[in-house]
Symmetry: C2
Subunit: 113 residues, 2 copies
Amino acid sequence: MPYEDEVYGCPADVGLQMISGKWKPRILYELFQGTRRFGELQRAIPDVSRHVLTVHLRELEHGGIVSRTVYAEVPPKVEYTMTEYGRSFEPVLEALVHLGEAYIASRKDEHES
Amino acid sequence: MPYEDEVYGCPADVGLQMISGKWKPRILYELFQGTRRFGELQRAIPDVSRHVLTVHLRELEHGGIVSRTVYAEVPPKVEYTMTEYGRSFEPVLEALVHLGEAYIASRKDEHES
DNA sequence: CGGGATCCAGTAAGATACTG
DNA sequence: CAGTATCTTACTGGATCCCG
């Protein structure tokens, strides 16, 4: 299904899929604050497995949201940094946080009523 | 896993899951433009099956994004309308469209280079 | 240290048939 | 018209083991 610029939904899906993934919002939150090494991300997000963290970072890299820098050292060192394009997702994620909080708050109100 | 307001990722996930689903962006696009009947949505988005359309609409309704109105007529008539809360997702979806288009444009540039 | 390869479970989505 | 029920398939994420 190639891109049709007359269809609204397709480009929205493209943008959505880039940040869709169980741990991507948390990964992005870390990287919005600065460059992180693989192990730092693992410690910051303890519930994600190495495998899934690797897969998500590869997807973010492929989408041009983060850049991956490998240092040819022993032991290996890999750093992940937000690209300029990736930073343009920050307001979107912030908006989703607010909307998610609004939903949570409304559900709590219902429950207490 | 209950809500912890110190964790950034959780509320972002809540907001994200509300608009995540293969056809939700297109459904929302239709409903941003006005109230639609079930059949109108089906004709506007021909590739979605009745089943999946029903499931997605139920999820949107449960999330408080759309409201569902059933008219006790024969033949049956059901209308879906964006709620005020749902309208607050419009700028987010628009931003995702722009970011998706930017990605598509960058990939095209690569391909032509 | 930062992965890759493989296998498995859970969920989302498509196809089809039936209903008030 | 607007669903529901059931089955099947595809994809996502988790667990484990191996590698430069």
